[in-house]
Amino acid sequence: MNPADYQRAARDWLERNVPSEGRADGDPIAQAKDFMARLYDAGYSGITWPERWGGQGLTQEEERAFAAAARDFTLPIYVFSIGLGMTGPTLVDRGTDAQRERFVRPLLRGEEIWCQLFSEPGAGSDVASLQTRAERDGDDWIVNGQKVWTSVAQHADWGLLLARTNVDVPKHKGLTMFVVDMHHPGVTVRPLKDMSGRSNFNEIFFDDVHIPDEHRVGDVDDGWSVAVTTLLHERLSISAGVGMGGQKDNPASLEALRRTVDTSDPLVRDELVELHIRSRALALFNQRLAQETEAGVFPGARGSAAKLLLAELTLYQADLATRLAGPESVVGGHPLGTVLSTAPGLALGGGTNEIMRNIVGDRVLNLPPEPRVDKTVPFKDLKVGTQA
């Protein structure tokens, strides 16, 4: 099917199947799972993922055509965004065949929800200094520790967990990746309220949680290289807007603003032109990265540049919209107030803007690294987190 036909068919399907807002029956998770199952059965979930594990085995061309068709809809798939954008691709890249067989299809069909467990209270930007321990116990591992900023964990069935398995080697060399059952006894999920007043992320406590060794992803003490895979997918999926829906319902979009602000004022017109320029510049960059991927050139660390630019654009756009709207935007639960309150999230989650700049500098421009005082020191001798 050519891309135009594919897009038309996808659009038809979405029109018939995307639930309208009024239809919510009070359980958004059940609704999301129901929608995801239909999306999968219609062939629109995992479009580019390998057929062998439940994907469609198609190309970026179909993926883009679907994204174009979906731009005018808000798909209720937010709870699957971590699985689809980050943990799923990591398992496809680095998991065992048994793990792919077990986890990928249920993820694509929306039967199971995933979260990602990397950050800790003492390990944010410097995530490799994390302290959560996994200790070998026969065929199992026993996990103790605390994670934080974990999106959708309150709904999650499975988590991709990065834990320390060796404290006698430098920090990057003693980490291992696991799949953890979020329903296992000893896993406690507590919601955290963010600055917008919502509770989209959580803190997680692990008390003697058992993980079978067959749920280890990658080699023992090689978790950092797996984590890098996940983080690359994370940045790409954020910049490509996986699971985020379009700009359709964004009250700070150019289309919304032109209806609500006085465009006869030349100063307002110029501000909107600037918004258009920046939005198009980034959209075209993302499209170019997608076309390069299609041609076999993996964007790698350049995805961090796209993520950085999106974070900046998001905050700029919300800031601009409230300036144009004026005093009404900061009272009475105005939608632009909400947009402004959620805007900083993107500049922090998935790596801060400063970390993105480090990555672009180090891995795209190959600039000399910052001197590292902790690179060769055994983890147990470092001053990190609660470790004196």
Binding site: L254, R258, T263, R269, D270, L272, V273, E274, H276, I277, R280, A281, L282, L284, F285, Q287, R288, Q291, E292, A295, V297, R302, A305, A306, L308, L309, E354, M356, R357, N358, V360, G361, D362, V364, L365, N366, L367, P368, P369, E370, P371
Partner: protein, 338 residues
């Protein structure tokens, strides 16, 4: 939409880059136009005939190819009438003239184009009069294309009735001239087609992309060898983070140039918006990157002997070449029907 260069376009880039690295490196740019290099550029590589249709002896290539070539000539700040001749060829391919196009394709004729809005009138015998205060490469070009009334005319710049005065230009690598026409003989070429200004904007943006990339490459290279306080300056976040932001501008500028070149070749409906976007974004980004490249070099970047100011001044000259940049922004506002 095609945003990634084809294998053939990459080969063209490599050929132009290799040629210019040997024949016209940036260090040579301050010596100005070298007719011998220019002749080889057109003879060995056929660059002047790149977008000239095959029936007139050119390569019949599109803007996607032209953009790749202009990026490379921009990156070395190639002096001389190449961009001016491209501008003229763009106007001519929209209002074909066999003699001129063949001359450009063979590299015999360097041409330039008076920018829209020139105050030039034709008398009953077709002779032209008027003053063009700034003509790109006006001293190096053989022929001037200018719109008078509703028609495009070709003026032999060595003819009687033409007075050319070189201007002192901020950008010492590429000249401009004041041209006074006083009953100058001219050939009428017909009505200029629509869309010429948009195509000029795209071609210029391709050159700007090359200038931007080279200015960034220069400071990235320097940040890897210059040491301060016992460390390479590129290891400091104060420098590294700026360079990362400059890289983001490069990525977006390149994406826009590929898109605008594609629109010029394949999507006339999208060309006006793409062309205005190209000038509004790439023109600004090019100057900002050239500026920050100069600043991050430290004191050496402020010296006459260093090339940083050449990029800085080319970037500024290019940014205002087609008029004050607010015109491109106003065009976007109009196209968006704001």
């Amino acid at each position: 939409m095609k945003l990634v260069p084809s294998q053939e376009q990459r080969e063209l880039r490599a050929a132009v880059r290799d040629f210019l690295a040997a024949a016209s490196p940036p260090a040579k740019a301050r010596q100005g136009h070298d007719p011998e290099v220019y002749a080889r550029l057109n003879g060995e590589l056929g660059l002047s005939g790149l977008i000239v249709p095959e029936e007139y002896g050119g390569a019949g290539a599109g803007f996607a190819e032209l953009a790749v070539a202009l990026e490379e000539t921009g990156a070395v700040l190639l002096p001389g009438p190449f961009l001016a001749t491209v501008f003229a060829a763009v106007a001519l391919t929209r209002a074909p003239d066999k003699e001129l196009l063949a001359g450009i394709a063979e590299g015999r004729v360097a041409a330039t184009l008076a920018l829209p809005g020139a105050d030039v009138t034709a008398d009953d015998t077709g002779r032209l009069s008027g003053t063009l205060p700034q003509v790109l490469s006006g001293m190096e070009a053989d022929v001037l294309l200018v719109t008078a009334g509703s028609a495009l005319h070709a003026v032999d710049l060595t003819a009687e009735g033409v007075t050319r005065t070189p201007l002192e230009t901020l950008d010492i690598t590429r000249g401009q001239a004041r041209v006074v026409l006083d009953g100058a003989p001219a050939r009428t070429l017909g009505e200029p087609a629509d869309g010429i200004a948009d195509r000029l904007a795209v071609a210029l943006a391709a050159e700007q992309l090359g200038v931007l990339r080279a200015a960034l490459d220069a400071i990235v290279g320097y940040a890897k060898i210059r040491v301060a306080f016992g460390r390479y300056i590129g290891s400091y976040q104060g420098v590294k983070h700026k360079l990362a932001d400059m890289h983001g501008k490069l990525e977006q500028a390149e994406s826009i140039v590929r898109y605008a070149a594609w629109a010029a070749d394949e999507a006339p409906d999208e060309l006006p918006g793409a062309a205005a976007l190209a000038q509004a974004y790439v023109g600004r980004a090019c100057f900002e990157v050239a500026r920050d490249s100069l600043l991050l070099h430290g004191g050496i970047g402020y010296t006459w002997e260093h090339d940083a100011h050449l990029y800085f001044k080319r970037a500024k000259t290019d940014e205002v070449l087609l008029g004050p940049p607010r015109l491109h922004r106003a065009r976007i506002a109009d196209l968006l029907e704001l």
